[in-house]
């Protein structure tokens, strides 16, 4: 399947690294007295990422964040942690921002603007601002361009994406049961992830018999909105080599690559086509590898369908065969190319993509935080027994691919490698 010229221009291939990763807990709501603002969550996650990298406030001089007017800003987080910034930017955006901002971080470091960038996303996605526009915002007046959307009760992500999902079923014969396997696989992974919010395994029948939210999406086809912050620290591979963790480098990055007419992409078909159709032609040549060489995928699972659509568009299977691919066992731990081994947004928690990059960094470090026992050196000894409650480390992965999703018309992607 792979048709990649390994001698193609490598740009900054393997020159930059993810040197630190940090998370908070994944929760839906807080116990009294244990609440957090998004500022508090962000400080917690960025601090964890610095500790993970083995660096201090003096070693971080850049900061990037993304939000949809639902979060805190870099100056507060840097100030709280005693970080003096040479660069910061707080960007508008949700899903697919993670990979794009990692690329921006590489660019600003390459330009000499700073040395080390903490990229964070902090959200009270359950307790404060829910993505679907629920609560007080549900009754907000409808004005201007929104008259072509919310005036029709067409505004949440599931409602907006449903015509793409439905048309895929119509054109390719994709079935609800095939797509449900994405949730089944991710729930298996989450059952081996002690920090996952939902860690019970589910069956195809559980998914297709759960209540219908917006056809073709059942409740269990949709991700879980949670309260959390996440952070990755980007720096040069040279610097990262001297930090605490095994080196994980970036081979290729694509940011917010889009279809034509992204204002209303349904005008420019095929509507079953998603942005990966365009992004793959940047991702694979710059990485110098193709889908066949990838050991683990992180295809964004806002919905079961989004995982499937991106895997086929990036060439892990032929267009239209995503239903067969995701229901074949390939995407499960123990399969040929597991997807979202943390349980992803469907099970672990909703982070707008950052947690899926964090998980793949852990996989490439060979240091997954499952329940495997620690050896004499304090590091876990992985068993590769993927039974419930067991291991979720993939055996010696070398390459991962994250496929970030904002909407059918926009996506980002990232190929990471163990070492350099």
């Amino acid at each position: 399947m792979t048709d990649i010229d390994g001698t193609s221009p490598p740009y900054l291939r393997n020159r930059y690294a993810i040197a630190g990763i940090g998370e908070t807990t994944y929760q839906r709501g807080y116990a009294p007295g244990e609440e957090h603002t998004t500022r508090s969550l962000a400080t917690w996650a960025v601090g964890n990422a610095m500790a993970d990298a083995g660096i201090t406030a003096a070693d971080v001089d850049g900061m990037l964040s993304y939000s949809g007017n639902d979060s805190t800003f870099s100056p507060f987080v840097a100030g709280d942690l005693g970080i003096r910034l040479n660069f910061y930017m707080d960007c508008f955006g949700g899903g697919s921002s993670t990979e794009a901002l990692i690329g921006i971080a590489m660019g600003v470091i390459e330009a000499g603007m700073c040395d080390t960038v903490a990229v964070f996303r902090s959200m009270n996605g359950f307790s404060q601002v829910r993505i679907g526009g629920t609560g007080a915002r549900a009754a907000a007046p409808v004005s201007g361009d929104a008259l072509h959307g919310r005036a029709y009760g067409w505004g949440s992500a599931g409602q907006m994406f449903a015509p793409t999902f439905m048309r895929h079923m119509y054109e390719y014969g994709t079935t609800p049961e095939q797509v449900a396997h994405v949730k089944v696989a991710h729930s298996k992974h989450a059952s081996n992830n002690p920090k996952a919010f939902y860690n019970q395994r589910v069956t195809v029948d559980d998914v297709v018999s759960s209540r219908m939210v917006c056809k073709p999406l059942h409740l269990l086809d949709c991700c879980v909105e949670t309260d959390n912050a996440t952070c990755v620290i980007v720096t040069s591979a040279e610097r990262a080599r001297d930090m605490r963790q095994p080196l994980v480098t970036i081979r290729s990055v694509v940011g917010r690559c889009s279809k034509p007419r992204l204002d209303m992409h349904y005008q420019h078909g095929p509507i079953t086509r998603v942005a990966g159709y365009y992004a793959k032609d940047i991702l694979w040549p710059n990485a110098g590898v193709g889908p066949d060489e990838i050991d683990i995928t992180g295809s964004y699972d806002a919905f079961t369908f989004t995982t499937m659509l991106q895997l086929e568009e990036y060439g892990f299977c032929a267009k239209g065969e995503g239903g067969g691919y995701v229901s074949s066992g390939i995407i499960e731990l123990g399969g040929a190319r597991p997807n979202n081994t943390s349980g992803g947004h469907l099970c672990e928690g909703y982070t707008h993509g950052m947690s899926m990059v964090i998980e793949n960094v852990r996989q490439l470090r060979h240091d997954i935080d499952d329940s495997c026992p620690a050896g004499p050196d304090g590091r876990r000894v992985h068993t590769y027994d993927y039974a419930e409650g067991g291991c979720r480390q993939v055996r010696n992965p070398e390459l991962t691919a994250n496929l970030g999703w904002a909407m059918p018309a926009t996506g980002s992607a990232l190929v990471m490698q163990k070492g350099w």
């Binding site: 526009g133 629920t134 201007g144 361009d145 048309r167 079935t175 204002d263």
Partner: protein, 173 residues
């Protein structure tokens, strides 16, 4: 001082800023009972929704042109869990993506004018469940207008009773 046109649609306050000439013209035309789209002067192509330039040429000059508002359902969402209060008593409701007969497959194979709207009855009420259950990909529909005020009407879709109807494709039950 704003003279922003305002109205009420399904109990929701709706408005258009008086700076927003494109949306004002679009919805005012709907209030007159005529469906008009912008046609770029350079490209001669119609476009939806209203935009500030021609997506094919970048041309900012255009004319509003009356368009026959008939077509077939291209895809849809069937909402069972409404988020907005105005829709809660109407579930399940359909959001239809309707491909117009006009300019279908132009200027390239997969392009078309695909217009969003709810499935409504001929008199503009959100369709009841037994009507929702009849409609799917392929259903022929025509436009009706829901007045929100004297100046704003929301275009909607109803089953075209004059058309020969194919057996529509629906989500498998």
């Amino acid at each position: 001082m704003s003279t922003m046109p305002q109205g009420t649609h399904l109990g929701m306050p709706v408005s258009i800023d008086d700076l927003d000439l494109e949306n004002l013209a679009y919805f005012r035309s709907c209030a007159e009972g005529v469906f008009r789209l912008q046609r770029g002067r350079r490209s001669g192509l119609l476009r939806y929704p209203p935009t500030t330039a021609c997506p094919w040429t970048g041309d900012r000059e255009y004319d509003w042109v009356e368009v026959e508002p008939r077509g077939a359902v291209y895809s849809y969402a069937e909402v069972h869990h409404a988020i907005q209060p105005s829709f809660r008593e109407h579930t399940p409701y359909l959001v239809l993506l309707v491909e117009l007969d006009t300019q279908r497959g132009e200027p390239s194979e997969h392009e078309a004018l695909r217009i969003i709207g709810n499935l409504v009855t001929a008199d503009g009420e959100l369709a009841p469940p037994e009507v929702v259950a009849q409609v799917g990909i392929g259903t022929r529909v025509r436009m009706v207008f829901n007045p929100a005020s004297d100046e704003i009407a929301i275009p909607q879709w109803t089953i075209d009773e004059t058309a020969e109807q194919p057996v529509p494709w629906r989500y498998p039950e």
